[in-house]
Structures are given as C-alpha cells and as structure tokens.
C-alpha cells in the first residue's frame, strides 16, 4: 500500500477538477434543499411528534439512489473506455491500491457533500427569527444521522465502484449501481412486508439485520450499535474485493 496516498491524492485532485463532480454536487444540494424546505413548510403548518432532523433523515435513501451512481459511475468505466486503466496497472501499483484510492476518494466527496447538507439547520436558525434552535439543532439526531450516512455510504459507494468495474459504459454502470442500491436500500423492507409463509420466521432476523431504515432509526435516536458498523464495513470490504477480482480478470 506504499502508493496508496499518492493515488488517493491523484483521485481527489481529479474529482476536484472534473466538472461532473460539481454538476452532481450542485444537483444533490438543490434536491436536499428542496426536501428540507418542504419539511420546514410542513412543520410550520402543523405539529409533529418527531423532531424535524429525524424526519429529514427518513428521506436519506432518495438522494443516495441518484447521487452515488453519479459519483461512482465514471471511476473505472471511464478508465477502461479510455484504455488508461491498463497504463495505470502497468505502473508498480496493485489493483487493490487502485480500487481503494477510487473508493476512498468517492467516499470522501460523498461525506463532504452531506456535510454541506448539515449546514441547512444552521442557515435556518440564523436566517429566520421563528425557527427554534433547540428544535433544529438537536445534536444527537444530527450527529447520529450524519454518522449513519457516512457509515452506510461505505457500502453504497463500494457497490458503485463494483458496478463501474463491470462495464465500459458510464451509463450502464450508473443504471447497474441504481439497481443494486435499490435492492440494498429498499429490498429488506419490501420483502419484510410480503407474506412469505413458512419463510417469514426464518427470514425475520436476517431482514432486520440488513434493513437500512432500522439502522438509520437507531442512529438518529442516539443508539450506537456495533452490528451496523460491522455490516457496512465487512460488506463494503467484500464488494471492493470482488471489484478488485473483476479488474484483475479483465486486465
């Protein structure tokens, strides 16, 4: 892993220079601003029994479904299309270093963009006279929610990187990533609501273990649990390993 820092710096610089990064970032922040604005309008119109921050994170899957493919679809598919991946791998760097550097760079950007979203409550409190700081800046909810977004992002970004290794087309990689994320984000919940007959008892525990909305709920309530940490860390490692194997087999 000697070359990893240099590769990571290169990837971060590339992302910072790429216009597509800014386009994806601006679209993401506008979408989140719209969601936050709608939420504030609802809270101004009627009373709710959950803090606004908790309600805001309930919609986290919507931007993830669109932003992660935009951030990751380019990473390896573009390198393969431009035939620069072969050149890169002919240098004294390992496939793991290449994959990891692309993964970490995308993840850092993902976390930074969500950090931009965390400014919304501050803007609301300082930009208006009627917004209650205690209500909007409820720290356990905001910190827990942000920690969940960052940790779950490991797996979602890894899924995006894997999708990007499977094809030369950015569009196909993006659609593939969207499909995988849809299954990861909504699959356990959708399956859990179906009538599964004798399987229901057997599937109950695994579905609960994989259910991202259950993880989100416990994080935003200020509950720290080792299970989601291990789930996202271990599975993102597995997905990245598969991505490395795919790159090696294709090069």
């Amino acid at each position: 892993m000697r070359h990893f820092p240099a590769l990571l710096r290169h990837e971060l610089r590339s992302l910072a220079h790429a216009p597509s990064t800014y386009v994806a970032g601006v679209l993401f922040l506008l979408l989140m601003a719209a969601i936050y604005y709608l939420l504030l309008s609802q809270y101004a119109a009627e009373q709710f029994s959950v803090p606004p921050g908790e309600m805001f994170f309930q919609a986290f899957w919507l931007p993830v479904l669109f932003m992660v493919p935009l951030l990751t679809m380019r990473s390896l598919a573009e390198e393969r299309r431009m035939h620069t991946l072969e050149t890169l791998l002919s240098a004294p760097v390992t496939t793991t270093e290449v994959i990891l550097s692309k993964f970490v760079a995308s993840w850092v950007l993902y976390c930074l963009l969500w950090l931009g979203v965390m400014i919304f409550p501050v803007i609301t409190v300082y930009g208006t006279s009627g917004a209650d700081a205690r209500l909007l800046m409820h720290m356990p909810v905001l910190l827990g929610g942000y920690a969940f977004v960052c940790i779950s992002g490991l797996l979602y970004i890894a899924a995006g990187i894997l999708s990007s290794t499977l094809t030369r087309s950015q569009l196909v990689a993006g659609i593939l990533c969207f499909g995988v994320l849809f299954i990861l984000l909504l699959g356990p919940r959708l399956i859990g609501t179906q009538e599964l007959g004798p399987w229901s008892e057997w599937l109950k525990e695994p579905l609960h273990y994989f259910d991202s909305s259950a993880h989100r709920d416990s994080f935003t309530r200020g509950v720290l649990d080792t299970r989601p940490f291990l789930y996202y860390l271990s599975n993102s490692s597995l997905v990245l390993m598969i991505a490395a194997l795919v790159v090696e087999s294709k090069s």
Binding site: S129, G144, T193, K204, Y231, L245
Partner: protein, 491 residues
C-alpha cells in the same frame, strides 16, 4: 517449465484461484456478520429519550424465566394511516426494540417480536386470531407458555380530547410481561344466589359474558361465589355484586363485612333501581346511601334514542380519570342515586362521589305510583344526582407505614357492564379501570408516563420564502467553485 505454467492450464487455474478467493471471502464475511449479529455492543447515548427503559423494567427483564412472544397488529404506515396510528406504530416498534435488547442473555433473546399487518398478511392474521382469539387491529399481544395479555392503544398512549398527549407504553408493556410471566392468576368473584347478573349468561340484558371473556383475555379469572356456603375465598382479588334482584341473608352480609374489615377486601356493588338487596344498611355503615329511587333524566344529551341513560359528568379519581380525559360517556338502562350523605361509622373512611346525572334530572321517590314522571319538591331529590360513591379506608401497619385498606365502590347503574352496554368505549374503559385499580393491579409497576413532545416551527410565509433562497446558498457556492475551477483550468 512446470505443467502449471503451460497456458492451457494457467488460465483455468487462475480463474479457479479467483473463484476460491471469492468463496473464502464470502464465507469469512458471512461468518463475521453471523457472529456480529449475536455478540454485539450497544450503547444509548441519549438515555433521557422516550424509549429508554426505566431501571424497574430492566430489572424485571433480567429476571425473566420463560420466553415471551410479542405480536404487534398495528398496520404498516400507509398514506391513509392517520397521524395517531403512525405515532403508535413508531412508538411501539422503537420501545419493543429496547425490550428485545434488554431481554438478551448470552446471545439469546427472551422476548421475541413479530409484526403482522392484518391487511397485507390476512393469512397470518387469521392464524393469530385462531391462536390468541384476538381479531383486534392496533393491538400488542404478549404471550408466554399458556398465558396471554392484549394491550390496546388506550393503554399505550394517554389521550386527552382524543389527542395523544403522553407515552405510557412502558408501564403497560412491563405490566403485561409480568402478568404473562407470572404463575398466579387473580380471581374476580361474582356473587350468586340473589338473581345477580352472571358471567356465564350470554343474554344482552342480564349477561356478563363479554366481561368474563375480557377478564380472561387479561389473565384474570371470573368465578361465581355463593356466600351462603362460606366465606369469601382467600384468592379473591375483587368481589363484584352485579345488580342483585333478591335480598342478601344477614350471614352473607356478615361474611362480606368480615372480608372487608379483616382482609382489607375490595367490593364493587352494582345496584339497580327498585331492588331491596339487604345491603343498604351495610352500605350506610361506610357512609354510602343507596336510596331506592329512580333517576329521571330529562336533558336531551343524556338520553339516547333507545331510552338508555347517558352519564357524562365524572369527578377526578383514579377510577374515572380515563372517562374524563377522553370525554367518554357511560350508557346504562336505569339509574339509582348513590350518595355520600351520611357520616361513615368506620373510622378513617374517605368518601368520594365519582359521577352524577345532569342538572335537568332528578331522583324520583314515587316513580312506582306515577303514570307520568313528575318532580315533587320536598320528596324527590333535585339533580345533578350522584350515581357512584367510592369509600376507602387506610390501614396502618405496626411500623407506622400506611397500607391500602378496604375499598367499596357502589354504582347506581345496575346493568352498566351488561353485554348490551359493554360495546361502548366508556363502559369498557370504566370496567377495566375499576378492576385494575380495585385489585391493585395497576400498582404492579408504577412508571411515569412521558409527555409526547409536539414539534412545530413558527415561520411566516415571508420567512419561508427567504429560506427557499437561503437554502440554495450551499449549492450556489459549489456551483461558483466549479465555475472558478473550470476557468482556472482553461486559462
């Protein structure tokens, strides 16, 4: 050159090698996740949250001997679900998650939870209806080896004017777990032999079979008691005298008295109009007057289309608070005045009137002889007429600690708990409030309800308009950064 380096073998071998690597990684990750799901660390950083369990509940859960299964039949949140149902489901789900975690011992959960949406999963709902004899939506069913307890929304959320104001699910759930895990069953005795209403009778007017079924669903056993044969049994949690037609024998009254005096007993008397029960003098000793009169109700809001009396006025007391909070009325066929008119001869007796008829009503003394009910000043009692009185004594132990003593509740609505009227929410709520308070069941565990915080922002239309622009600032800043980067790279 080794044969393995031969290109004919090298490619398949390389593929096999990758496949083995992949399989090994899969096994490793599956193993790590399986282990992590059983052995984990969990910390609640916001302990003051509404879902944090009290030390009492934690202690009870640690002592659980037998597994408890919980079935939740609150439908999934759909667009059609009202905010109260969404709040209920969310609260129940998060609270039961805490119970599940707290019941964990050595990787094994003593409390398992199953969510069944009766609309989406009708087959499982039908199975549950057969298994638990419960077809109620929005219920939480606790079951152990051979006991079950159904907890309804009114026990989980505290309502005021039909609006949820406090969470009290922890009290209800811990009590339900204690009840299902407990090995003893409280027995509610219904006196017999005087033409009383019976828990075995299914008729609408004189039957109490609905009450009996509901008691069994709450792990209480209804039994008949013939006082002419002997004393009140030792396992009696409560004795109910349900609208007797005939008179009690003097020795039967003595047995009731000794149950109250010597064993700090609990007695509920439902007295209908026009009955001489032989208990009137016995009640006078406790300061309760049960005059044989008929309450004539003339307020339009207090009489239903079928002629039943509607009682809407309730005093503050642990028994009637649920009716006051929910503005729930009581229905009954006829009413008889029950008042706290005379001084109790029992020392230390506290009397409280619990409910009354409307101001337009009166207690008619000559109702038997009147063809048309008329108010006769000086003879009849003007409204509002008191309809129920609670008398309680405080016992003092040798160490000076005050202990709960005998409790007598006399209600002048003889058929208020009959099958005909038990469909009314107010009647049901009053019955269970009486049984739990009179038999000290609600004191099994005392956990304070937690206030439901309501969140609302006071933002004007102008402020919202300004916010729409302000919230676009981060996106604008990023767009500007992108523009500057593009310009710098170009020039």
């Amino acid at each position: 050159m080794s044969r393995l380096d031969d290109f004919r073998y090298a490619t398949p071998l390389r593929r096999l090698n990758k496949l083995v690597q992949l399989l090994l990684a899969l096994c490793l990750i599956a193993g790590v996740n399986a282990l992590a799901s059983r052995h984990y660390f969990r910390a609640d950083l916001a302990r003051q949250g509404v879902y944090a369990l009290s030390p009492e509940s934690m202690a009870y859960l640690r002592e659980l001997k037998a597994p408890v299964h919980v079935v939740v039949t609150i439908p999934e949140q759909g667009d059609s679900a009202d905010s109260g149902q969404k709040l209920l489901r969310r609260y129940v789900k998060n609270l039961l998650e805490e119970y599940r975690e707290a019941s964990r011992r050595g990787g094994k959960e003593m409390l398992s939870v199953e969510y069944v949406d009766p609309y989406r999963n009708p087959r499982r709902a039908a199975e549950l209806a057969r298994q638990y004899k419960v077809e109620q939506v929005n219920a939480v069913i606790f079951s152990s080896a051979n006991r079950q307890r159904v907890v309804g929304p009114a026990e989980i959320l505290e309502f005021e004017n039909l609006k949820p104001v406090a969470y009290k699910g922890e009290q209800a759930f811990t009590s339900a777990i204690l009840e299902t895990a407990s090995e003893s069953t409280p027995v509610i005795y219904f006196t017999s032999g005087h033409g009383e209403m019976s828990p075995e009778d299914v008729s609408p007017g004189r039957g109490l079979s609905v009450v009996a079924a509901e008691l069994r669903a709450r792990n209480m056993e209804p039994r008949l008691l013939d006082l002419s044969r002997g004393e009140v049994p030792g396992d009696a949690a409560l004795v109910i005298v349900a609208d007797p037609v005939g008179s009690f024998l003097p020795e039967e009254v003595v047995r009731l008295r000794s149950y109250l005096d010597e064993r700090s007993g609990r007695l509920v008397l439902l007295l209908g109009a026009g009955r001489e029960t032989g208990l009137e003098r016995f009640l006078l000793r406790w300061g309760i007057s049960a005059d044989n009169m008929l309450v004539q109700e003339r307020a339009a809001d207090n009489v239903d289309s079928g002629g039943a009396i509607i009682v809407r006025s309730f005093a503050e007391s642990p028994v009637t608070d649920i009716l006051r909070r929910n503005k729930a009325p009581l229905l009954a066929g006829q009413a008889r005045p029950i008042s706290a008119g005379q001084m109790a001869s029992e020392p230390g007796t506290r009397l409280s009137v619990l409910m009354a008829s409307s101001a337009k009503s009166w207690a008619d003394a000559g109702w038997r002889n009147e063809t048309e009910p008329l108010f006769n000043p000086g003879i009849d009692q003007a409204g509002p007429v008191p309809l129920a009185v609670l008398a309680q004594t405080g016992a003092r132990s040798g160490t000076g600690i005050s202990l709960p003593g005998a409790r007598i509740l006399a209600i002048g609505l003889g058929d208020v708990f009959s099958n005909r009227y038990m469909g009314s929410f107010g009647n049901q709520a009053l019955f269970f409030s009486i049984t739990s308070w009179m038999s000290d069941r609600e004191q099994l565990i005392a956990i304070e309800p937690r206030v439901i915080e309501q969140y609302q922002l006071s933002l004007s239309r102008e402020e919202l308009g300004r916010l729409a622009l302000l919230l676009c600032v981060p996106a604008g800043v990023l767009a500007l950064m992108g523009l500057i980067t593009a310009l710098l790279r170009r020039y």
